[in-house]
C-alpha cells in the first residue's frame, strides 16, 4: 500500500495526523508528511483511516 499526498490540495487541517499519528504528521508549515513510502502491513488500516478523513481529499490510497 502506498499513500500519495497532493501537497497543493493539503490545507493543513491536521485530521490525518489526529486520526493516525503513526502514519501522518504536519511539518512546520502545517503541510502533511506521510511517514512511510510503503505502508507497513500492520499500519494499513490506520493509513486508510487517516487518508479517508482528509476533508479535502488530498490523500490517496493505492493498494
Amino acid at each position: 500500500m502506498k499513500i500519495t499526498a497532493d501537497l497543493h490540495r493539503c490545507e493543513g487541517h491536521g485530521l490525518c495526523a489526529g486520526t493516525a499519528p503513526e502514519m501522518y504528521d504536519l511539518d512546520d508549515d502545517a503541510v502533511v508528511v506521510v511517514r512511510y513510502d510503503i505502508v507497513p502491513p500492520h499500519l494499513e488500516r490506520r493509513a486508510e483511516a487517516g487518508a479517508g478523513v482528509c476533508p479535502v481529499a488530498a490523500l490517496r490510497v493505492e493498494a
Binding site: 487541517h13 489526529g18 502545517a30 483511516a49 476533508p55 481529499a57
Partner: protein, 392 residues
C-alpha cells in the same frame, strides 16, 4: 420519471421534522441508502457510506447546475464556488481558500483568543445569559466581517440575509417566500459594495476583489464570491457554538473532562458538529446513473445529500445519538467532505477552540434550560437557550 427503489412521502421540510429531524432521518435510512422523496420528487442520500461516496464523486453528483431544490434559487446561485464542478470549481475556490486554511489563520489566533477571553469574562460577570443572542451570535458576527473588511453599515442585516439564503436551498414554502425580500436587499447591497469598492483596504474582501478583477471576473461573480466568504460563516458557526453550550450543559461529566484535558477540545468540537450538524445537506444533480448499494439513482435526477443523517448513521457510529467527546469524531461530514468541503472549517474550528479554551478555565458548570430550536429549511440551530454559568 419512473423510479425503482425505496420511496417515502415523508415531508422533511415540515415544521416537526425541522424542529426534530433525527427520527425522520432514521426512517429514511431504514428504507435505504437512497430514498425517493415523493413529495419533492427528488432522491435523498441517507447513510454515511453513501453520503461520503457521493461527496467524493463530483462528476456524478454535480453541483454545477446548483445545489438547491428549486430552479429559481439555482439560477440566483449560478457562478459561485458552491455551484460549480472541477475544474472551474478549483479555480474559484483558489481565490477564497488561501486565507482560510489553518496555517494562514495562525496569524489571527492570538487576536481570536483575546476576543474569546473578553467575551467569556463578560458573560461570567453577568452570570446568566442567552447562549444564542449573547454568546453564539456575538462572536462570528464581530469577527468575520472585520476580517473581510465589511463596512459597519449593513452589519445589522447580515444574520437576516444569511438565514434567508439558507432557507432558499429548500422548497418554495412559506419560509422561503418570506426570505425573498431579504435576499433581494442583500444582492443590492453586495452589488453596491463591489461597484463602490467599499471594502476596507488590505482586507480579505478587498484582496478578493483585486484578484478577481485581475482575472477579469464579472462584477456579478465577484459579488457572489464575496457572499461565498461571508454568508456561510455566520449561521453555521453560530449554530455550532450554541449547540456546544447546550451539549456540555447536558453532559457535565464531559465538561469536567475538557477542564481536565484541554487537548480534548478539537475532537470535542468535531463531536458537536457531528451530533448537531448545522447544515442538513445540499442538493446535487446526477450527471450519470449512480449505484448506491443496491439502489440506482438515474441520470438527470436531483438528490439531497443528507450530511446530518450520515452523521447519525447507526451503521457507522456506535450509539450515534449520544454526545461522546471520546469517540473518533473527526470523520463526521458536518463540514461536508471532498472538493466542496467547507472552505471555512479552519476558521470555525479556530473560533470554537478559542471559546472552549477560554470557557474551560473559567466555567465549572453550565446550567441550561428552555432550549428553543429555530425553523430554517437548511440550518439546524438553537434560536434561544437560557444559560447560567458557575465560575470556576
Amino acid at each position: 420519471m419512473t423510479t425503482s427503489g425505496p420511496s417515502s412521502d415523508l415531508d422533511i421540510y415540515a415544521d416537526e421534522h425541522i424542529l426534530d429531524p433525527y427520527p425522520a432521518y432514521r426512517t429514511l435510512r431504514d428504507l435505504g441508502p437512497a430514498v425517493w422523496l415523493e413529495r419533492y420528487q427528488v432522491w435523498a442520500v441517507t447513510r454515511y457510506r453513501a453520503v461520503y461516496d457521493a461527496l467524493h464523486d463530483p462528476h456524478t453528483f454535480s453541483s454545477a447546475s446548483g445545489v438547491a431544490l428549486t430552479p429559481e434559487t439555482n439560477q440566483m446561485l449560478m457562478g459561485n464556488t458552491v455551484s460549480s464542478d472541477p475544474p472551474e470549481h478549483d479555480r474559484l475556490r483558489a481565490l477564497i481558500a488561501p486565507r482560510l486554511n489553518p496555517r494562514a489563520l495562525r496569524a489571527y489566533s492570538d487576536e481570536v483568543q483575546r476576543r474569546a477571553i473578553a467575551l467569556v469574562d463578560d458573560l461570567i460577570a453577568r452570570g446568566s445569559f442567552d447562549a444564542v443572542s449573547d454568546f453564539a451570535q456575538v462572536f462570528p458576527v464581530s469577527l468575520v466581517p472585520d476580517l473581510l473588511g465589511w463596512p459597519e453599515k449593513g452589519r445589522d442585516r447580515l444574520l437576516t440575509w444569511a438565514s434567508a439564503g439558507f432557507n432558499t436551498i429548500g422548497p418554495m414554502n412559506q419560509r422561503t417566500i418570506e426570505s425573498v425580500p431579504a435576499l433581494q436587499e442583500m444582492s443590492g447591497y453586495v452589488a453596491g459594495l463591489v461597484s463602490e469598492n467599499d471594502l476596507r483596504k488590505g482586507s480579505w474582501g478587498a484582496e478578493l476583489l483585486d484578484s478577481g478583477r485581475e482575472r477579469d471576473l464579472s462584477e456579478d461573480v465577484l459579488a457572489k464570491l464575496l457572499m461565498d466568504y461571508l454568508l456561510p460563516s455566520l449561521d453555521t458557526t453560530i449554530s455550532a457554538l450554541a449547540s456546544m453550550i447546550l451539549l456540555f450543559g447536558q453532559n457535565p461529566a464531559q465538561w469536567d473532562q475538557i477542564r481536565a484535558r484541554p487537548e480534548a477540545i478539537p475532537n470535542a468540537f468535531n463531536e458537536v458538529v457531528r451530533l448537531e450538524s448545522p447544515i442538513r445537506g445540499f442538493y446535487r444533480h446526477l450527471k450519470q446513473d449512480a449505484k448506491v448499494d443496491d439502489v440506482t439513482i438515474p441520470k438527470g435526477s436531483w438528490a439531497i445529500v443528507l450530511n446530518a443523517s450520515a452523521n447519525r448513521d447507526e451503521q457507522h457510529w456506535e450509539k450515534p445519538d449520544a454526545f461522546d467527546i471520546t469517540r473518533r469524531a473527526a470523520e463526521h461530514v458536518g463540514f461536508g467532505h471532498g472538493v466542496h468541503s467547507c472552505v471555512g472549517q479552519g476558521l470555525a474550528r479556530l473560533e470554537g477552540h478559542a471559546l472552549l479554551t477560554a470557557l474551560a478555565t473559567r466555567v465549572r458548570r453550565f446550567d441550561v434550560d428552555n432550549a428553543q430550536w429555530g425553523l430554517n429549511n437548511t440550518i439546524r440551530a438553537l434560536k434561544s437557550l437560557h444559560v447560567t454559568v458557575h465560575a470556576a
